[in-house]
């Protein structure tokens, strides 16, 4: 029952937000729901419930290993959102608050979906609910970004439905009764019709990969992240991509059970490396620091699927990386939002010297940059190290070398942009003639907390989390 509350509470909050009369107090619904949701998620993390194997939704080890990270990220974004929406009073926030809360509920459902059809329905719903969020600013550029998001995302989601049908047909062709829960599909194992399984894998990987933003299906990402408010960018990069990643993992486990695991891992490895390569090339070229975050996200999605391709150890590292990436990326997005508002621009041609205009945000931005490029004390360093170790242990030395090369160039790309923004003299006429802008606690503390958790994850990963990740790996690689 508790696990269903994770879905129901945010959706009820969304309904309440629609009915709530006051523009000024409505944003407080977000942190209120966020606190309840985080509390529930952490409670479930420490005392996992019994999962009925045939249930369509359930807090199984995979949900347990990933969902609390989304929950914490949302709480931070919600706290930030209250201050943010107070600055943006010129835009009505009814739809925004309701959509953000609904997305949280749908993400909770998506992480817990144990049924192929339900997984697809929730992903589709998330896709559609994100549309008003992306268009919050109402400019023609926001419009362009939303259109691209919808066209690319809509096509991706259509293909993942096709893939789900193919997998369903593989089951029916193999004598299945039409039960499309992942448990039932895995139990069918080798009876699944092999050609259909492979076709299903291609479509599902392309479909859910589009939602993740794997190259070459990443084209919507820079525009969407560049034009949407920072909270939305953080939730897309940390929450929506995560649900798509768990979808890929659940599907992969079925493919693995059907005996095509090796082929699936090979495609994952290839698409992951390709994503990293494409992301790095764009990171070296872009001049816009919000689009930079999008390409960095593409790169990290590549790291996730590479981890997922490298057997149990790599999978464990991937779960670790989900946490460290979500939280660090959240901090980066939120601090980048502060800088962008203070500077009124987004490209390195127009923005510089932000360390004297917004010193605190700039500090978090730089720290987040070091974290996300895998510098030692932060979480991403350790998770990426584990990915490399898994790669070497499974004999993928070439892949490991390419992985490290991409990380190096990503470091170049990110530092180039971040220091161009932070260093130097502020341009005249920018942010009250280069004087310090008072940064409210409401927009500083949330990213600071996220950075703190990222640091903590790196220095002392909690045992409960480690156990949760191990359980999830066991669910994905069941003992024969």
């Amino acid at each position: 029952m508790r696990e269903l509350l994770l879905i129901i509470v945010p959706l009820a909050g969304a309904a309440l937000a629609v009915l709530w009369p006051s523009e000024r107090t409505r944003p407080w619904l977000m942190p209120a729901v966020g606190v309840v949701h985080t509390a529930l998620a952490l409670w479930l993390l420490f005392s996992p419930p019994q999962v009925d194997p045939g249930a369509w939704f359930g807090f199984d080890p995979i949900a347990r290993a990933v969902l609390p990270a989304v929950s914490i990220l949302f709480l931070a974004c919600a706290a930030y959102g209250v201050s943010y929406l107070r600055i943006r009073t010129e835009r009505p926030n009814r739809v925004f608050v309701a959509s953000l809360l609904a997305i949280l509920g749908l993400l909770s459902a998506g992480h817990q979906a144990r049924h192929l059809g339900m997984l697809w329905i929730t992903t589709e719903a998330v896709t559609l609910t994100a549309v008003p969020l992306l268009h919050f600013n109402g400019t023609s550029r926001a419009f362009e970004a939303t259109w691209k998001y919808l066209l690319v995302g809509g096509t991706g989601i259509a293909l993942s439905l096709l893939g789900s049908f193919c997998l369903g047909y593989a089951s029916v062709r193999g004598g299945g009764s039409g039960d499309l829960t992942f448990v039932a599909l895995m139990a069918q194992g080798h009876l699944l019709s092999r050609p259909w399984v492979l076709i299903a894998w291609v479509f599902l990987l392309v479909g859910y990969g589009t939602k993740m933003g794997l190259a070459p299906m990443h084209t919507w990402k820079p525009d969407a992240y560049g034009e949407a408010p920072s909270i939305v960018g953080a939730m897309l990069a940390g929450g929506v991509t995560t649900v798509a990643f768990t979808a890929v993992l659940r599907v992969r486990s079925v493919i693995n059970a059907a005996g095509a695991g090796a082929a699936a891992d090979l495609t994952l490895l290839a698409i992951g490396l390709f994503s990293m390569l494409v992301a790095v090339l764009f990171l070296l070229g872009t001049r816009d620091f919000k689009r930079m975050l999008a390409y960095s996200s593409v790169e990290h999605m590549g790291i996730l699927v590479i981890g997922a391709a490298l057997g149990p150890a790599g999978m464990w590292a991937a779960f670790f990386h989900v946490w460290s990436n979500s939280l660090t990326k959240g901090a980066l997005f939120l601090s980048a939002g502060n800088i962008r508002r203070a500077a009124g621009a987004r490209t390195v041609d127009e923005v510089r010297g932000m360390s004297s205009v917004t010193p605190q945000s700039a500090a978090i931005f730089v720290a987040g940059m070091f974290a996300v490029t895998a510098c030692p004390p932060f979480g991403p360093f350790f998770s990426e190290l584990l990915v490399v170790r898994a790669a070497v242990a499974t004999g993928h030395v070439g892949a490991a070398a390419m992985f490290l090369g991409c990380l190096l160039f990503a470091f170049f790309g990110l530092t180039r942009l971040v220091f161009a923004v932070v260093d130097g003299k502020p341009r005249p006429g920018e942010g009250a003639e280069g004087k310090r802008i008072r940064e409210k606690a409401g927009v500083i503390i949330p990213p600071l907390v996220l950075m703190g958790i990222s640091l903590w994850l790196g220095l002392a990963t909690p045992h409960a989390l480690q156990a949760a990740w191990t359980d999830a790996v066991h669910q994905l690689f069941p003992a024969p």
Binding site: G117, V131, W147, F165, G168
Partner: protein, 213 residues
């Protein structure tokens, strides 16, 4: 029964080519609408026991795919004063040839796939693949947003056609939920088309080029 089924699916495949060759937006919308109606009737042919649920699904599909969405598209066209001429990235003759090639490849390729005996003689899988391919050509090869939406609809029709393979084995509940979701998605796309118009004064996605890299 199979011959009626194949005749209808063959019609849907012909409508794909008509949509590819059509040089005016209303023509393409009409092709999509007729295709929607043809596909909506199919569940009645596939189900042996004629239940009210199947009838309901068929009626809803025909209404939505055949009337509601084309109606919305036509309305969007009138409201936005979109020009009727389609200007293609991929010319009409090349897209027609591509579509025909795709259709032939779909028919040939579907033979290699293992099918249940009751689906073996039908055109369900080739029809689905051909429609999906056609949808992609329209999505990629047309400049106007409204013709891209038509392409998306044909893509969706293809997926629906494929879903019919499973209509007997998986609960109808899932099917109808899926149907609803897809149509809602298209609905939202339709609204977006309407609003894009207001933001850009024309429905030409070639103008969506501020953001590029």
């Amino acid at each position: 029964m199979n011959s009626t089924l194949n005749l209808l699916i063959g019609m849907a495949m012909g409508l794909n080519l008509l949509a590819l060759g059509g040089s005016r937006v209303p023509q393409v919308i009409r092709a999509v609408a007729v295709q929607g109606i043809v596909l909506g009737v199919l569940p009645l042919l596939l189900e042996h026991d004629f239940g009210w649920l199947v009838a309901l699904v068929a009626v809803i599909t025909v209404m939505v795919k055949g009337f509601l969405i084309p109606g919305l598209l036509n309305r969007a066209m009138r409201a936005a004063k979109i020009e009727r001429e389609i200007d293609p990235f991929i010319g009409f003759v090349p897209s027609l040839l591509l579509g025909a090639g795709g259709t032939i490849a779909a028919v040939a390729g579907a033979r290699m796939l293992p099918l249940l005996p009751e689906h073996a003689g039908t055109l369900l899988v080739p029809g689905a693949l051909a429609s999906i391919f056609t949808g992609f050509i329209l999505l990629i090869g047309r400049a106007k947003a409204i013709s891209q939406v038509c392409g998306y609809l044909i893509l969706e029709n293809g997926i629906y056609l494929f879903g019919l393979l499973l209509i007997r084995s998986t609960p109808l509940l899932v099917e109808s939920g899926i149907l609803l979701d897809l149509t809602v998605g298209v609905f939202v796309i339709g609204i977006i088309v309407d609003r894009i118009q207001r933001a850009f004064d024309s429905l030409d996605t070639r103008k969506l080029t501020v953001l590029r890299e």
